[in-house]
Amino acid sequence: MTLNILWFILVAVLYIGFFFLEGFDFGVGMLLPLLGKKDEERRAIINTIGPHWDGNEVWLITAGGATFAAFPNWYAALFSGFYLGFFLLLLALIFRGVAFEFRSKIGSPKWRNTWDILISVSSFLAAFLLGVVFTNIVKGVPINANQVYTGTFFTLINPIAIMGGVAMIVIFMLHGANFLSLKLSDDLHVRAVKVAKTFWVTTLALSAAYLIWLVFNTNTFVEKGLVAMILPLLAAVALVLTRVFMGKKEGWAFAMTGLTIFFAVSSLFVALFPNVMISSTSPDFNLTITNASSSPYTLKVMTIVACVMVPIVLAYQIWTYVIFRKRVKADAKTLTY
């Protein structure tokens, strides 16, 4: 049983890691056409995440794999249930992934513009869909006694889920703007700070509205009491604090949007616990960390692997941020992509 809790936490950690890291990747992608006017500027923007985006995306792959290994019934119900949602998410991630690699390989402005637009659109779409998915998991969807989803694609497209998608977009965009403020130089740097500052109010308003709506429209937060209520509040505090640091201490500003994501996503998982999917049909049909989980033996094996590997992965990923800590200049000679 303890291992079931541990794996719930580990899966949560993988998703939080993914949202924290790929969150700014998505934000950078969304802002690409807006911030970068000339080709060199756009290249500089892409180069800020160039060494990292692929490694960041592995957090999602591993989160999916870990869900499969530790909670096969969760993996089965979620991915089959939200089928078309995940199909669209995959298409978005496919276009985004190849776009980074392909855009610089041909010099035609038309070619580059096409990929830039694809990067932006697919970043918006991926963020939106992830917001929709996670809101629906917490809010609850129709699931029958066999742990099978009984709704349709349109069941997923409900007002609060759409709001969740929008909140995900604005938070990632701000996170991305903060990342760019930290990583760009000269003109681009000034522009990134300006966008972050301008965009901050919208982000605060929309994401606060989402969290309040979610907290008071689902039973899960209220039932959990203080612990579940305090996390959204901390997310809001971090979001307010980021404004204080913008343009002055950019590392801190970025850390604060990172904390916002950390607290907000944690609050979703805390609200969910000990369920992994909530059935709106009947609470008896909820998928939980017990009825959706793998056997104790498999959990034990996976725990050993995770305890060894997660620290190693974290160490070398942090190392990559250390090597590429320098700000990126919009100067063709120093750019890779």
């Binding site: 692929d54 089965a76 089959s80 099978v148």
Partner: protein, 464 residues
């Protein structure tokens, strides 16, 4: 069309497509690592340019492998939720470990490699590409450990209506998985060898960067021959093991219907339109026994016997896969495998003889040879996955019971058509980029980004 059939088509097409990119990633990664190691040792700037040239093609190919791999990670749950519930306790573990141990390693360090030419020392930079190659190889092992379980389930018990892991060591030590792994990584090297031979030949024929491309040509000829022999060898022992653990699959690949001792080998054959029955066959007497036992006698069980056994064991039903498909993919694979061994041997000899001019026709045909490993790899997987049918996990679960029960044909049709269209477009773009960069020669490796063209309107002359 029902959801099982549509889901099978989607899985088959997305997986075959994914596997267009994987073998080249596996093999070319090793080549790039070898070349960069040579550069570190000699300090020759030409070798660095060569490393970057093949490295760039590696990256274009790698991107496609990554994004199509994402689909693989999700679609077990999307289309095969009953399968995921039934084997998740076992099957999920290698997938999760693949992420933790392999994907993180290859993806993170590939980013470092691309952007780290100026920031890391020469040696460290070469170590980084080796880490990428090790990561890819590890990922091949874990996904094949998962597939090995589907072929030959080991280390489990059935408990509460699902398969549960009781022996992780048995899962990783599954001989079926190891044969698949050795066969797959050597075919990755073959794929990369033909890729390098083809594009090197293209440039040698045009007398461009001759010294550099002779280096890669010869390297690919040597590694290509050795790995083709390895592919054939591992393929053969895999076939022997297949007969033990999946006799139906082995018999189907030979269209061997009646149990015989000594057993004849069918060279070519004709089938009924449904592909399930033999109409005629040209046989080599005793040869099948020889292949299995290395002597001209020995019993080889036929499809009809095995079918009768399975009916007793699992109840009434059709346990015979699509024999004609397995028979022909097998023959196609074996024939092209030997052809590739011959080709690599000839070009090795050609390179060793200092590229005599009267043999330069070889350089003309090698670019066409690039497609050979792709055809063989695809045939191999079609054989492996269809010869197991009707089982999704041999003896434990049938494919028709594995599908997600909540799906409708319309839903699966949307995703199937969507994937096919998107994948077709991306294949076009990917091939265009690969060929364009490959044809440019070493210059293509100098920079990762092509300079921006000045739009025609900005040119005063308006010439273009």
């Amino acid at each position: 069309m029902d959801i099982v059939l549509l889901s099978r088509w989607q899985f088959a097409l997305t997986t075959i497509y994914h596997f267009f990119f994987v073998p080249l990633t596996l093999g070319l990664g090793v080549f790039v690592a070898v070349l960069e190691t040579m550069y570190v040792k000699t300090g020759n700037p030409e070798t660095k340019r060569l490393t970057k040239f093949w490295g760039k093609l590696f990256l274009i190919n790698y991107a496609m492998g990554v994004v199509t791999g994402l689909v693989m990670e999700f679609q077990f749950g999307m289309n095969w939720s009953e399968y995921s519930r039934f084997v998740g306790d076992i099957f999920g573990a290698p997938l999760a470990i693949e992420g933790l141990l392999a994907f993180f390693l290859e993806s993170t360090f590939l980013g470092v490699w691309i952007f780290g030419w100026e920031r890391l020392s020469k040696k460290l930079h070469a170590v980084v590409i080796w880490l990428v190659a090790i990561g890819s190889t590890l990922s091949a092992f874990f996904i094949l450990a998962a597939n090995g379980f589907m072929q030959n389930p080991v280390g489990f018990v059935i408990n509460g209506g699902r398969a549960e892991m009781v022996n992780f060591g048995a899962l990783l030590g599954n001989p079926r998985a190891w044969y698949l792994f050795l066969h797959t990584i050597s075919s990755g090297l073959v794929t990369a060898s033909f890729f390098i031979l083809g594009f090197s030949a293209y440039h040698l024929l045009r007398k461009k960067d001759v010294e550099a491309f002779k280096t890669s040509f010869k390297l690919a000829a040597v590694i290509g021959f050795i790995s083709t022999v390895l592919v054939i060898g591992t393929g053969h022992v895999q076939g022997l093991y297949l007969k033990q653990v999946q006799p139906m699959a082995a018999a189907a690949s030979e269209a061997h219907f009646e149990t015989q001792d000594p057993a004849d080998f069918s060279l070519i054959a004709g089938f009924t339109p449904d592909g399930k029955e033999l109409v005629w066959s040209v046989d080599i007497p005793r040869a099948l026994s020889f292949l299995y036992y290395f002597k001209f006698s020995g019993e080889v069980e036929g499809i009809n016997n095995i079918q009768a056994q399975y009916e007793q064991q699992y109840g009434p039903g059709d346990y015979v896969p699509l024999v004609a498909l397995d028979y022909w993919t097998f023959r196609f694979m074996v024939a092209l495998g030997f052809l590739m061994a011959l080709i690599t041997l000839v070009v090795w000899f050609y390179a060793a003889k200092k590229y005599p001019a009267k043999w330069s026709w070889l350089l003309k045909i090698m670019p066409i040879g690039i497609v050979l490993p792709y055809l063989v790899n695809t045939a191999g997987w079609i054989l492996t996955e269809t010869a197991r049918q009707p089982w999704v996990v041999t003896g434990l679960m049938q494919t028709r019971d594995a599908v997600s029960p909540n799906l409708t044909p319309g839903t699966v049709l949307i995703s199937l058509v969507g994937f096919v269209v998107v994948y077709a477009v991306l294949m076009g773009v990917d091939l265009y980029l690969l060929i364009r960069n490959a044809k440019k020669g070493l210059a293509a490796g100098d920079s990762d980004s092509e300079p921006l063209e000045v739009p025609a309107v900005e040119k005063k002359s308006g010439g273009k």
